[in-house]
C-alpha cells in the first residue's frame, strides 16, 4: 500500500541489475534487456521433474533425485541461479533493496500458477534465517518473498511456522555432505497444529543442493504436514 508513495519519494533512476539509467520502481525494478535475458534463461534447459534443477541432457530426473528421491512433492524456481537472477537476489539480500521482493514474489507466484503439479496449497511458509543474519540484514528475504506470494495467490502466510534452533555456519563454502550435516535438526515446527494435515508451500531464495529445503521438508512432514512443495527465486544446474 505504501509502495506507490515510496516510489515517488525514492524514484529508482537506474536498473537495479545493470545500472542502466531510466525510470524504475517497485513494479519494474529492472530494464527490458535484463528482463529479456531472464526470460531467455528460463528456456535454457529442461527442469528436473522433482527438484526443478536445470538439466543439460534432457533427463526427466536429476541424478540426485534418482538416487535419493526427496520427500517434497515438487520444487520449482523462476530461473537458473545465474546473472541477472543471481544479481537480483544479491541486491535484495546484501544491499537491502527490499522493494525488489515485490516483483520477484509476483514472478514466483506466476511460476506456481503456470505449474499445475503444485496442486492445492493451504499455507505458505518461508525458510527461516539465523538470528545473527537477521541482526545484520534486518530482514528475512524468504519471508518477504513468501508474503508477496501469499498476497498474489490469496493464501495465508505463516512466517513463524518454521524456526531455526541454532545459528549455522554459512552454507556457501560447504560441500553437499557438509551442508546436510551442518543443517541436521536445525529446523523445528514450534506449533505443529499450524501445519497438521496441510499442503504447504515452502519459500526460499535459492535452491542449490536442496539441503535446506529437504531439511525443512523433513521438519514440516514430521510435524504432520500432509504435503510440501517448494518455490525458490533461482535454482542451480545439475546432471
Amino acid at each position: 500500500m505504501l509502495d506507490p508513495i515510496l516510489d515517488v519519494l525514492f524514484p529508482q533512476g537506474a536498473c537495479c541489475i545493470c545500472r542502466k539509467p531510466g525510470r524504475y520502481g517497485c513494479r519494474q525494478p529492472w530494464c527490458q534487456e535484463c528482463l529479456d535475458t531472464m526470460i531467455e534463461l528460463q528456456k535454457s534447459g529442461s527442469n528436473c521433474e522433482r527438484c526443478g534443477k536445470y538439466l543439460a541432457e534432457g533427463n526427466a530426473l536429476c541424478s540426485d533425485c534418482q538416487s535419493h528421491p526427496p520427500r517434497f512433492d515438487i520444487a520449482r524456481a523462476v530461473g537458473p541461479y545465474e546473472d541477472p537472477y543471481r544479481i537480483a537476489i544479491k541486491v535484495l539480500k546484501f544491499m537491502g533493496r527490499k522493494y525488489l521482493a515485490s516483483q520477484m514474489g509476483r514472478m514466483m507466484a506466476q511460476t506456481i500458477k503456470d505449474e499445475p503439479r503444485f496442486g492445492q496449497i493451504d499455507l505458505i511458509v518461508p525458510v527461516p534465517i539465523s538470528k545473527s543474519s537477521l541482526q545484520v540484514r534486518g530482514f528475512n528475504q524468504a519471508a518477504l518473498l513468501a508474503r508477496k506470494i501469499g498476497k498474489e495467490l490469496g493464501i495465508k502466510t505463516e512466517c513463524g511456522a518454521l524456526t531455526r534452533t541454532r545459528d549455522t555456519p554459512n552454507q556457501t563454502d560447504l560441500s553437499k555432505e557438509e551442508r546436510e550435516r551442518n543443517l541436521a535438526c536445525v529446523f523445528q515446527v514450534p506449533d505443529s497444529t499450524k501445519v497438521e494435515g496441510k499442503n504447504i508451500l515452502l519459500v526460499d531464495d535459492v535452491y542449490t543442493t536442496g539441503a535446506t529445503s529437504k531439511e525443512c521438508t523433513r521438519a514440516l512432514l514430521d510435524a504432520g504436514a500432509s504435503r510440501v512443495c517448494i518455490i525458490t527465486w533461482a535454482t542451480g544446474r545439475g546432471f
Binding site: L9, P11, G13, M95, K98, Q135
Partner: protein, 762 residues
C-alpha cells in the same frame, strides 16, 4: 508516477525567483516556451508538465507567504508588544537577542527582533510583554556590505525592538514543558562545558555542537574563515551524520531491529534539531537523515542527490523565503557539490585511498560554493583543502565526545568531564592546524564581489558539466564546460588594479562618524586616506577592510593619515595590520603626536616605510595624476591636530578633489588662492562642523559637489545646518554619507559620475 526530484527542486526554485523578482514577463516567456516545446516534442511533455507545475507552485507559495518589502517603515520611540519568544536567546556579554512572535495583524510587525541591552532572563517559548523603541534596521551603508535589513526581511522581520531596561521586559507565562525541558538539558550541558574547558576551547566546542559563534573571538573566527572550516560552526550534515552513527551504535547495543533503529534515529534527529533551533543546514541534514533512514527501513535505494533535492523541495515548500537565505544556499550547494562532483572526481584516481577521498570531498564542496563565498565573504580558500583533511576526523571526534558528554551531563558531571578533556585536546590540535595552514603562502586570497549574473553563469556552466557526464549526447560539452569554469576562476582572482583603468575614483566609505576615503588612480593604484574609527565598534575590521576586500583590493600603494584623531586613524591602524601597504604618509608637523603611537608600532611591526608630508610637495603618482599637499607647513608645530590636518588636492586632467581632513575654517581659507576653480569635489572639513564654516571659500573654489562624511544622528550635531545652507548657496550638490551611505565618484578626467549607496530622499 516517476518524479525526478532534482528537476522539481530547480523548477520550484525558479518559480520562487520569478515571484521574488516579480519577473512576470519572463514567467510568460518561459510558460510559452514550455507549451510550444511540449506541443512539438511530445516525448518531453511529462517533464515539461512536471517542471511547469513545480514552477507555478513556487510562484504561488512565495507570493502567498512573503509580503512585499515595505518602503514606509516608521520608527516608533515607544512600542509595546507581547508575544512568544521564537528563538533561543543569545547573550554576548552586552546584549540579549531573540525573535518575538507578536501575532500582530500587520505582516511587518508580526515578528520582531528584540535587542535587550541587558541579560534577559527568558527562554525560548516564554510569553513576554516588552516595551521599547521600534526601529527598522539600517540598509547597508557600503557596497558589498552584509545587508542585514534584507537578511531580516527574508525571515519576515522588518523591525528591531530595542529595550534599554530590564524593567521594561516582563514574563507573562513560561514555555511549554517539553521545550523548556529540552532547553534546560542544553543549557546544563553548556554550563558543564564552560566549567570544564578553558573559555576558548569551550566556545569552540559549543559552537561545533550547537552551532553559532557566540563567545568565539572575532580574530579566531576570521582565521577559521581564512582556512575554510567555518562550516564546523553551522551544524549540518557532518554533525547529523556523526549523531546518527552514535545513535545507531547505541541502539545496536540494545539489539533493536530495523524499526527500532528507525524510530530511535528519527527521534534523536528531531530532538537535536529542536535543541539547536532548526537552522536551515540542520533542517536539510535532518530531512536527508530521515529520508535515508526511511529508505533503509523500506529497502529502497536512496540516491544522495535524490535525498538532497527532496529535502530542499520540502524546506522550500514550508518556507520559500529560505531560498534567499545564505545558510540554506551554502548547505544545499556544498552538499550538492559533494554528492555530484565527488564520485565523478574519484573516478579520475585509479587507486582508492582515504587520503584522496579526504581531499576530494572538500574540493567538491569548495568548487560548488566558490562563487557564493566570493560573493558574500570576498575570500577564496585553496588552503581549506589541507585544513579539512586534517580537521575532519578531529572535529568529528570532538563533536561525538561533546555529544556523549552532553548526554552524560544529566547523569554525572564528573563522568561527562572525562569525555570533555580529550575533546578539548582535539580542539587544540585543530587550532594548531588552522594556525599552520593560515601561514602558508596562498592559503587564502581576497577576491572582488562577482556580479549576480557572474555567479549564475558559474552555476549554469557547472550544471552543464554535470549533465554532460550523464547524457551521452552531451558528452562533448564536458571539456569546454570545465575550461569555462577554469577561466571563470581566473577572472575572479584578477587583482582590482585590472579594472576601470583610465578612470580616477574617489570613494567616501560610510564609516559612521569619521572619515575613510579610498582613491584609485587611473593606472590602478590604490590610496587610502584615513580609516575611520569608533569607540563602539571595530570600524577597520567591520567596515573598511570588508569594503577593500569587496573591491578585490589585496594591497594598498599608499595609506595616508590626515591627523591622529580616533575617528580617522583607528581604522587605519587595523588596515595596515591586515593588508600589505607600500608606504604610509603622515603630516610632518604631527610626526611627534602621541596619538600616532599605535600606528607607528604597527607600521614598524609590518616594516612599512613612512613618508612625511608637508605643504609644497607634489606627488606625481602617474603621468597625469598628481596629489598636492596644500597644508600644513613642514615646521608648524603650533595648534592642535585639527589645525595640522593634511589638505590634499588630487588632480587628473580636469577632475580635481580637495580632501581636507578636519581643518578649521582659517586653515581652509588660507589655501583658497592656491586652488584653481572650479573644483570638482570638495570634502567638507571636520564632518561639516560649524568651526569649519567658510562661506567665502566655497564661493571662491566653486565645487561641483561637496561631501560630508558624518555618522547618522551623531551626538555632535554634524553637519551644522549653516554649513549645509552655505554650501547649497554656493551651488554645490551636497552628498552626505550619513544619509546616502558610501559615495563613489568616478571620472575619466573630463566627465564624472556620482553614485550613492542609498538612494537620495526626494
Amino acid at each position: 508516477m516517476w518524479i525526478y526530484w532534482p528537476a522539481i527542486l530547480l523548477s520550484l526554485a525558479l518559480g520562487i525567483c520569478l515571484a521574488y523578482f516579480q519577473a512576470w514577463f519572463w514567467t510568460a516567456v518561459l510558460a510559452a516556451t514550455a507549451v510550444v516545446a511540449g506541443a512539438v516534442r511530445s516525448q518531453y511533455r511529462p517533464h515539461l508538465i512536471a517542471g511547469l507545475a513545480a514552477t507555478v507552485v513556487g510562484i504561488m507559495i512565495y507570493s502567498w507567504n512573503v509580503a512585499p518589502f515595505p518602503h514606509d517603515l516608521e520608527e516608533q520611540p515607544r512600542f509595546e508588544a507581547s508575544g512568544r519568544i521564537d528563538s533561543i536567546p543569545t547573550y554576548d556579554g552586552e546584549k540579549s537577542v531573540f525573535l518575538l512572535d507578536t501575532g500582530d495583524s500587520s505582516p511587518y510587525k508580526h515578528r520582531l527582533r528584540v535587542v535587550c541591552l541587558f541579560e534577559a532572563d527568558f527562554q525560548r517559548g516564554d510569553t513576554v510583554h516588552l516595551e521599547g523603541q521600534l526601529k527598522p534596521p539600517r540598509p547597508p551603508g557600503n557596497p558589498g556590505q552584509f545587508d542585514f535589513q534584507a537578511y531580516l526581511a527574508n525571515q519576515g522581520i522588518y523591525y528591531n525592538l530595542n529595550i534599554k531596561k530590564a524593567a521594561n521586559a516582563h514574563l507573562l507565562s513560561s514555555a511549554p514543558p517539553l521545550i523548556s525541558w529540552i532547553d534546560s538539558q542544553r543549557s546544563r550541558a553548556e554550563k558543564l562545558v564552560r566549567q570544564v574547558l578553558p573559555a576558548e576551547e569551550a566556545a569552540i566546542l559549543l559552537g561545533m555542537i550547537w552551532g553559532g559563534r557566540t563567545g568565539i573571538d572575532d580574530r579566531q573566527y576570521e582565521d577559521f574563515q581564512k582556512t575554510g572550516i567555518v562550516h564546523l560552526f553551522s551544524v549540518g550534515g557532518l554533525h547529523v551524520g556523526f549523531l546518527l552513527v552514535l545513535i545507531n551504535w547505541l541502539v545496536s547495543l540494545s539489539g533493536a531491529g530495523s524499526k527500532g533503529r528507525f524510530i530511535a534515529g528519527v527521534s534523536g534527529l528531531l530532538l537535536y534539531g529542536t535543541m539547536v533551533g532548526w537552522p536551515p543546514p540542520v533542517m536539510r541534514a535532518v530531512l536527508m537523515g530521515i529520508l535515508g533512514l526511511l529508505a533503509y527501513l523500506s529497502g529502497r535505494e536512496n540516491g544522495l542527490l535524490n535525498g538532497l533535492s527532496l529535502s530542499g523541495a520540502i524546506i522550500l515548500l514550508v518556507d520559500p523565503a529560505l531560498l534567499f537565505d545564505l545558510s540554506f544556499q551554502l548547505t544545499m550547494l556544498a552538499t550538492g557539490g559533494i554528492v555530484c562532483l565527488f564520485p565523478q572526481m574519484r573516478t579520475l584516481f585509479p587507486r582508492r585511498s582515504l587520503l584522496i577521498d579526504l581531499a576530494l570531498i572538500p574540493i567538491s564542496a569548495e568548487l560548488a560554493i566558490i562563487p557564493l563565498v566570493a560573493y558574500h565573504f570576498n575570500i577564496l580558500t585553496p588552503g581549506s583543502i589541507i585544513t579539512n583533511i586534517g580537521t575532519t576526523y578531529l572535529s568529528g571526534a570532538a563533536v561525538i565526545l561533546g555529544f556523549v558528554a552532553s548526554l552524560l551531563s544529566g547523569v554525572s558531571s564528573s563522568l561527562a568531564a572525562l569525555f570533555l578533556y580529550p575533546a578539548g585536546m582535539f580542539i587544540q590540535l585543530i587550532l594548531a592546524i588552522v594556525a599552520g595552514v593560515k601561514a602558508l603562502p596562498g592559503a587564502y586570497l581576497y577576491v572582488a564581489t562577482p556580479t549576480v549574473l557572474g555567479v549564475s553563469l558559474y552555476y549554469a556552466i557547472m550544471t552543464l558539466a554535470f549533465i554532460s557526464l550523464r547524457i551521452e549526447a552531451w558528452r562533448a560539452m564536458f571539456r569546454p564546460a570545465v575550461g569555462l569554469c577554469f577561466i571563470w576562476l581566473m577572472v575572479l582572482v584578477l587583482p582590482a588594479q585590472f579594472f576601470n583603468r583610465g578612470q580616477v575614483e574617489v570613494v567616501f566609505i560610510d564609516v559612521g562618524q569619521g572619515d575613510a576615503i579610498l582613491v584609485k588612480s587611473p593606472g590602478g593604484r590604490f590610496i587610502l586616506v584615513d580609516g575611520g574609527g569608533s569607540q563602539f565598534f571595530d570600524v577597520g575590521a567591520d567596515v573598511v577592510l570588508p569594503y577593500l576586500h569587496h573591491r578585490g583590493i589585496r594591497n594598498l600603494d599608499m595609506v595616508i593619515s590626515t591627523h591622529p584623531d580616533l575617528d580617522h586613524v583607528e581604522g587605519l591602524t587595523k588596515v595596515i595590520a591586515e593588508m600589505p601597504v607600500t608606504c604610509l604618509g603622515l603630516p610632518a608637523s604631527l610626526a611627534e603626536a602621541e596619538d600616532y603611537q599605535a600606528l607607528y608600532d604597527t607600521a614598524a611591526q609590518r616594516q612599512i616605510p613612512i613618508v612625511y608630508l608637508y605643504a609644497g610637495q607634489s606627488l606625481q603618482l602617474e603621468e597625469d595624476f598628481h596629489m598636492d599637499v596644500m597644508h600644513p607647513q613642514k615646521e608648524n608645530n603650533d595648534g592642535d591636530s585639527n589645525q595640522n590636518s593634511l589638505i590634499l588636492l588630487l588632480g587628473y586632467e580636469r577632475f580635481t578633489a580637495l580632501l581636507t581632513g578636519d581643518v578649521p575654517a582659517e586653515e581652509l581659507v588660507s589655501i583658497g588662492d592656491r586652488v584653481s576653480p572650479p573644483l570638482t569635489i570638495l570634502k567638507l572639513p571636520h564632518h561639516g562642523s560649524k568651526g569649519s564654516l567658510a562661506r567665502g571659500f566655497y564661493q571662491q573654489v566653486k565645487p561641483a559637489a561637496a561631501v560630508i562624511s558624518a555618522g547618522l544622528d551623531n551626538p555632535f550635531g554634524h553637519p551644522h545646518p549653516q554649513v549645509v545652507s552655505a554650501v547649497q548657496e554656493s551651488g554645490a550638490r551636497i552628498l552626505r554619507t550619513d544619509l546616502q551611505g558610501a559615495i563613489t565618484i568616478r571620472s575619466n578626467g573630463h566627465e564624472y559620475q556620482i553614485q550613492t549607496q542609498i538612494a537620495s530622499p526626494p
